[in-house]
Symmetry: C2
Subunit: 422 residues, 2 copies
């Protein structure tokens, strides 16, 4: 991609009303735009990263049998009343259409998916079924100061599973838990699976996937030795207590919840009468589980845990570009021309097999180019300058490396290709 | 995909409250579910087709320089007031959050994209810029009886272009017009580009892309010889009149609007003060165009114009499956086993290079299997039965062909591969 043509308008300063690090850096880097508190646009650069997260989630959900679909955001009041949540869900945006009919803007889709299932003749042979979507959700939050970590409008993957037995649901719960770990690892996030309360759903088992970081709004207590972990809200332990499993000393950590998995059981299928025909011919409510994961929140969390004072350090699989090619302008016009010819050669060589941002701007200083490159945070950076040209070399470094290495263009192309794949 | 595992629950009858052919067939075929009037879920099968439309649009928009992004659905009232549309847009869903702040649910995004642009320092060198999204839109329609043709919640591609001069915008208008034709052709739709009024935007030139069909809600008048065409709403001609360009007799046609392109000029950039710095250093409002296209509406229109009394006839690029493999159960269990072994071989041979639906159900009659295959409408169908097995052959036909051809499995695999590509 040619940087002169791409809609990347970086900024030196973040807007004063934005206090979160993730939104500050993403706004300065041209990844997102803030429409108003809790509502952001994904600009072309941010959209690229969002699509990469989407792809990872899609691959991992399909790998555990998930079938992708898409449900509406507007949901009729009557459906929410059936499951008894119309009045109890305090973050539900409510509206009336011009005919006076009431709707909620879906913060989650248990009611809709259960309605879809109950309208069909389902036999035990059809189960289990795993249905998921990646879709825009809405939450009427009182406060929204954490950028993409707590949006009023945000993108979630929500999967719902339907089973003929509790044993089968439990088995899938563990499968989903593993798949979640995989998604977060591929996104470059460390997560702790912590026991939590069932929230508005039930008192049944649920797990949150928490990424430890100082900017987190949650507090978890965990054992670094055996993995025992609970959200502080439901823990009867405190830091310094011995681990109930292995006796090791427990520690507390601030963290961001990037996903959660719930036991639903028949919480929705019973009141909404979503049944299947069992082996013995009897009608039974389907046993359900649900599995949430925030795409925009993952994006925000990745920035919270992967940045320095100059900008973002994207993990390999999420970087908007595998490599950023940065030719520097020289005082001598002839040399500048040579530098750009060399840069363009490398651009064309790499473009076919990876995503490349080529800083083709010829009226921008070296300092500004470096500042932009660090802020944007492509996975690798190649610099070509008067200095490197003299030695018939280029400079290569990963964003997270302090020093660049001088090598020939051929060596550079090879090294970039190898690094982009692993 | 194994049909026994896929979430495809076909129905013999459509729900009585659904009068449109597109929604009836899509609901019966397991493509969509109706949540309530004007609001549909895309089930896994419908989601596959939706993604194919999305991909075609993305390819063609990127080919004309489009950069993809994603804007919020919730839009603050103040923004809509700036451009003077808060009170005049009658289909705007309006709501208040718990702090009393008012929002609209975006039926379109001129205000939001113009706000994004005005917050940046744009020079004439940065222009033109073409930004688009494929996103869920909302319209509080009084009536919604046409299935996916007029949804209250639906998916649109909306592109906005920004130019330094009116000449440049005009040039791009023609480029976009051509790209639109390409998209619709790839989706298997015939369209007429008709002159129309600017709607709520302006009195400037706009074009609608209309697909002629009896179920259309629009009426166009056009010349089949030279291509002159107008929406009847703005035409001062009637059927039988001579064409103002070539004198040929004009004809009327009912049609469905699948896309539209508008001249915006400075309709939004002037009141919202979205300016760029021109060559002479002066600040001027950006010249804008906008280009809409309904993804869910294209899907519905394709079904309206491509179906018979048995089901859907998907065009090649949109078919959810390149081929449907249908082994038939015989009275003799041994033969049934042989039939399924043969079918599975072909399934594995084809699966690597194309999308295949394999009807692995062994307790479903031939009649039911054929009915499902016709209803779902995969592009091609292979049948293996006791009869074909005896002759060491298989039966192959495209969905739109009346008769199947008997050939060897090897010939069939080859023919299916060739047909899936062209």
């Amino acid at each position: 991609m040619l940087q002169s043509k791409a809609f990347i308008k970086t900024k030196k300063e973040a807007p004063k009303d934005e206090v979160s690090v993730n939104a500050q850096l993403l706004m300065r880097g041209g990844y997102i735009d803030k429409l108003t508190s809790g509502m952001y646009s994904f600009l072309p650069l941010g959209f690229i990263v969002l699509k990469k997260i989407e792809r990872i989630i899609r691959e991992e959900m399909n790998a555990i049998g998930g079938q992708e679909m898409l449900m509406p955001a507007l949901q009729p009041k009557e459906l929410w009343e059936e499951a008894g949540r119309w009045d109890s869900m305090d973050v539900l945006y409510k509206l009336k259409d011009q005919q006076g009919r009431e709707f909620g803007l879906g913060p989650t889709h248990e009611e809709v998916i259960t309605d879809i299932m109950r309208k069909r003749t389902i036999s035990y042979k059809d189960l289990p079924l795993y249905l998921y979507q990646m879709q825009t959700k809405f939450r009427d939050e009182l406060r929204s100061k954490s950028g993409l970590l707590r949006g009023r409008e945000f993108i979630m993957k929500d999967m719902y599973s339907f089973h003929a037995s509790e044993e089968d649901r439990k088995k899938y719960y563990e499968i989903a838990k593993k798949a979640y770990g995989k998604v977060f690892r591929r996104c470059g996030l460390t997560t702790i699976a912590v026991e939590a309360s069932g929230g508005s759903f039930s008192k049944e088992v649920s797990h949150e996937f928490q990424t430890p970081t100082e900017s987190g709004e949650d507090l978890v207590i965990h054992c670094e030795k055996c993995g025992w972990a609970k959200n502080m809200e439901v823990a009867d332990k405190k830091a310094g207590d011995p681990c109930p499993l292995c006796g090791n000393i427990l520690t507390e950590a601030k963290s961001i919840e990037v996903g959660n998995i719930f036991t639903l059981g028949t919480r929705f299928s019973s009141p909404m009468n979503a049944v299947f025909t069992d082996k013995d011919g009897s009608a039974k409510p389907m046993i359900m589980g649900c599995y949430g994961m925030g795409l925009s929140r993952i994006l925000g969390t990745v920035v919270e845990v992967n940045h320095d004072d100059r900008g973002i350090l994207w993990p390999r699989e999420l970087a908007p570009f595998d490599v950023h090619i940065v030719p520097l302008v020289s005082k001598d016009e002839k040399i500048t021309k040579q530098v750009f010819v060399e840069a363009e050669k490398i651009y064309h060589a790499l473009q076919e097999t990876m995503t490349v941002l080529y800083d083709d701007r010829d009226s921008v200083s070296a300092g500004e180019k470096f500042a932009d490159a660090d802020l944007i945070g492509a996975y690798q950076r190649i610099v070509i300058s008067e200095k490197t040209l003299k030695e018939r070399k280029i400079e290569l470094k990963k964003r997270d490396e302090e020093k660049a290495t001088l090598m020939t263009a051929q060596q550079g192309i090879k090294a970039v290709r190898v690094a982009a794949k692993k």
